[in-house]
């Protein structure tokens, strides 16, 4: 039986790791739930954002938050552009998976072309900074990422819940024809949403650059876990994505501490399988 301190540390690390899952899951959940597009390229976009932050920071000494100011709007435009292609070709839920897989592979190749397959690490003065709460260490950057995920999830929830655009988007996801009959311009709002979703990938990318070691193949490493997060949280549900991220993060990290690190994936996917079988109506 591990000590209480170890367990507390595991829970804290899990929450922080879960924040990143939630941050990545947020954009995916929005486009899947509200636009019915499964965007595998989301992970590639986040990683591209991370590499750009890394490049601007280590080669030109641009502060990460400054580069985010440039990357996030650029990604918004990119997201709108992708969506223009999807609408032009009437991409469906299933074909979106294939097309965005292709986009992800191309982005992976682009990243590998410029930065090679070697591991990259963005060294900053504050990379290792952490706070101490009792016996538990809380790395500052990861906490910041987790807080950002929480703020974005809440803001997105409020946006969907209370604004006209949000309500229109949810109505269109339920029944596009009926929403259109009530005057909802689904096309315009869909562009906005895909832009926002891509912008979230940019934000996630900035934090990934600061927190983790970068390699092009990381695109595929997140795939399984974040998909689990998005489904457990409920498609198109920002708060759900965050909470599911935390749930998976904590369960993984506690498994790592209590059993062995290698068994961790079993937990998240068993949770996913159980939820899918017990409550298939969620998705």
């Amino acid at each position: 039986m591990p000590s209480l301190t170890l367990l507390a540390q595991a829970v804290v690390s899990g929450v922080l790791a879960g924040g990143i899952y939630g941050l990545l899951g947020l954009g995916l959940s929005l486009s899947w739930g509200l636009l019915r597009l499964v965007n595998l390229a989301h992970f590639a976009l986040a990683l591209l954002g991370a590499y750009l932050t890394y490049q601007l920071g280590s080669a030109f000494h641009v502060a990460p938050w400054l580069s985010a100011l440039a990357i996030v709007p650029a990604f918004f435009v990119l997201g709108v552009g992708f969506h223009a292609v999807f609408t032009y070709f009437r991409v469906t839920e299933l074909t979106s998976l294939l097309v965005t897989f292709g986009v992800a592979v191309i982005l992976e190749s682009v990243i590998q072309w410029f930065w090679t397959a070697d591991y990259r690490r963005y060294e900053t003065a504050y990379a290792t900074a952490s706070m101490r709460v009792g016996p538990v260490f809380v790395p500052t950057l990861e906490m910041l990422a987790c807080l950002t995920a929480a703020v974005l999830a809440l803001a997105t929830w409020a946006w969907l819940r209370f604004t006209y655009v949000g309500k229109a988007l949810r109505a269109s996801a339920e029944d596009p024809a009926m929403a259109a009959a009530f005057g909802v311009n689904h096309r315009a709002q869909a562009f906005l949403l895909s832009g926002v979703s891509a912008a979230y990938a940019g934000i996630a990318g900035a934090f990934i650059a600061l927190i983790s070691t970068l390699a092009p193949s990381q695109i595929w490493a997140w795939l399984g876990v974040v998909f689990a997060v998005v489904i457990i949280g409920g498609l198109g549900n920002p708060i759900g994505a965050l909470l599911a991220g935390l749930l998976i993060g904590v369960s993984e990290s506690v498994t790592m501490a209590v059993v062995t690190p290698a068994w961790a994936p079993l937990v998240s996917f068993s949770v996913l399988i159980l939820i899918l079988i017990a409550r298939p109506g969620r998705v």
């Binding site: 839920e93 074909t95 068994w263």
Partner: protein, 577 residues
């Protein structure tokens, strides 16, 4: 030459040709290049048997492939079994795994396609974790370099080449055979509309399980051979995302619904991947393949093979199908029987849709079932046909209880139905729509005879000239009559008509009424749900009136409609005087 024999000869010729190539002795590089293509053909084609035909996209094909790899790796190294003997075991184990997953997953109600895909994806990750953490692998990987390889040819690569070739041809042959069998017909119907397929007599659960086991089993054998080919098996390589994603891409590229599509797609992608090897070039190659994939998915969503075939047919129009003389309607297949409902109850959450409904329909009788919207008419049809189960009460046909049976069993016992909004199988021609019902319905015809019977029913409903049209080319009236023909195919003993007349114009209604009278004349029991009172009064021998799930009146049409409760329900209390 019959198409089936032509395919068999083609596969045999390919086998002999490529087999001869190996005996001549081609450079080992080409042998392993071709082996990789054969392996991908087997994987992609086996994937399409469930996922292409029935439309359940699996992202777990890597799990079955990996199960096969580790079966062979473990059995040859730990137990010292001969390599060839492990291949059938690898296949059976993978098939059992597929069957197990299917038995759990396919019982989930309302399982949508994407959910199935993600569940199978998760299974792959779980399996990888288990293998990695147990003695099956434990981390360092398994070496097979010391395992003896039977020498069919001089070189070991030659042997693996031949095994790969044999598996690829056998898989494509299997895919062809399945596509042209009763199983394949059922799987295609499941793809288009699973509920309707079940109600037309397709045993959907067992068909999905058979297809899943077959698909997984072939992937397992492919994995067993591949373990020997790579001779060093690791969890990271085996269970990577490559296999599940590439089989999907290859199949979709070639055309997942066509038996040859995945093989063509696999050859295209595997060959182009192999063409770019090493360093920056491989990187460019991968990006190029991805780009081509995007283009093809966007421009040819049905896949390369179907697109090419469509071009070919358009370029070389076949002689117009000669209209055959109308075939005789099949003689009654089963003895006439009475349909009874005894105190049938059914609730949805807190809403009691049916409260103890009892009625009986005799052979050669039309029973009109009327009532306001929401009175439970369609629910009753859904309970009789087995789409819903009754909470309480009994439904019998000729004394046999239907209540505990599945929908496809009820269809086979002789219950046909129509849908208020027609639900034809979208990728089936009008003829094939009806032929499917004849194949799986009470008559259980072999496919060829089913098409003859289907033609007769199309003529009967006046759709004879639209036999080769796809449902989206038919207008509402034709689709309604297609529903009718499909319900009649296989000669059911009872037919449930759910608002067949709604949305038709007076002339079309008149011809539908004549059809229904002819159906009655054949001794079929007809349960006729309709809002159009004129038709109900004209057609029905007896009428049952439902309101809020209860029978409020029954008897001859005029008697029942004049009952006070009925007038009250339809017109309100003030008019009852």
């Amino acid at each position: 030459m019959a198409p089936g024999r032509r395919v068999a000869v083609g596969l045999l010729a390919a086998g002999l040709g490529f087999g001869a190539l190996a005996t001549v002795g081609i450079p080992a590089f080409y042998e392993s290049f071709l082996y990789m293509i054969f392996s991908w053909i087997a994987l992609a084609t086996s994937w399409s048997i469930l996922s292409g035909y029935a439309g359940y996209f699996s992202f777990g094909h890597g799990a079955f492939f990996g199960a096969g790899m580790y079966t062979t790796a473990t059995l040859t190294t730990a137990l010292g079994l001969p390599f060839l003997a492990t291949l059938p075991i690898a296949g059976l184990l993978a098939a059992a795994l597929g069957l197990g997953i299917g038995a759990v997953v396919f019982r989930v109600k309302r399982l949508r396609g994407e959910l199935f895909g993600l569940l199978t994806l998760a299974v792959g990750f779980v399996l990888a974790t288990i293998v990695l953490n147990t003695r099956i692998d434990g981390g360092p990987g398994v070496y097979l370099s010391a395992v003896p390889l039977p020498r069919v040819l001089a070189s070991p690569t030659g042997t693996l080449y031949l095994l790969g070739l044999a598996l690829a041809l056998a898989t494509v042959g299997t895919a062809y055979a399945v596509a042209h069998s009763r199983l394949g017909l059922g799987l295609y119907a499941i793809h288009d509309d699973e509920d309707v397929a079940e109600l037309k007599g397709v045993p959907t659960l067992s068909y999905k399980l058979i297809a899943f086991a077959l698909s997984a089993g072939i992937a397992g054998v492919a994995g067993g051979i591949h373990a020997m080919y790579v001779s060093y098996v690791t969890v990271g390589e085996t269970f990577s995302i490559t296999v599940p994603l590439y089989v999907v891409l290859m199949s979709v590229l070639g055309g997942a619904r066509h038996w040859l599509g995945p093989a063509v797609g696999a050859t295209m992608i595997a060959a182009s991947l192999y063409a770019f090897t090493g360093g920056q070039q491989a990187l460019l190659g991968r990006a190029l393949v991805a780009f081509i994939l995007i283009l093809i998915v966007l421009l040819l969503p049905e896949g390369v093979v179907p697109a090419v075939l469509a071009r070919w047919r358009a370029w070389r129009p076949r002689s117009m199908e000669v209209s055959e003389p109308p075939a005789a309607l099949p003689a009654r297949a089963a003895p006439a029987a009475v349909l009874t409902c005894e105190h049938v109850w059914r609730a949805f959450g807190g809403i009691q849709a049916l409260r103890g409904v009892s009625l009986a329909v005799a052979p050669g009788e039309i029973l009109g079932l009327v009532g306001p919207n929401g009175s439970g008419k369609t629910t009753l049809i859904n309970v009789i046909s087995g789409y819903y189960t009754a909470d309480r009460g009994r439904v019998t046909l000729g004394g046999e209880a239907l209540t505990e049976r599945t929908a496809h069993e009820i269809a086979r016992l002789g219950v046909g139905r129509t849908y208020q909004i027609p639900r034809p199988f979208a990728h089936f021609t009008a003829l094939d729509n009806v032929a499917l019902a004849a194949t799986f319905g009470p008559g259980r015809c072999p496919p060829r005879q089913a098409r003859d019977e289907a033609r007769a029913w199309l003529d009967f409903t006046g759709l004879g000239r639209r036999a080769t049209a796809l449902p989206h080319e038919l207008n509402l009236h034709e689709r309604k009559f297609l529903e009718l023909a499909r319900a009649l195919a296989g000669a059911p003993r009872v037919i449930l008509l759910d608002e067949v007349l709604s949305g038709l114009n007076p002339a079309e209604i008149a011809s539908a009424v004549r059809l229904i009278q002819q159906i009655r004349a054949r001794g079929v029991a007809v349960l006729f749900v309709e809002h159009l009172m004129r038709a109900v009064l004209e057609l029905s021998d007896r009428v049952v009136v439902l309101n809020e799930g209860e029978v409020i009146a029954a008897g001859s049409p005029h008697e029942a409609m004049r009952s006070e409760r009925v007038i009250e329900v339809y017109l309100g209390t003030t008019h009852v005087a």
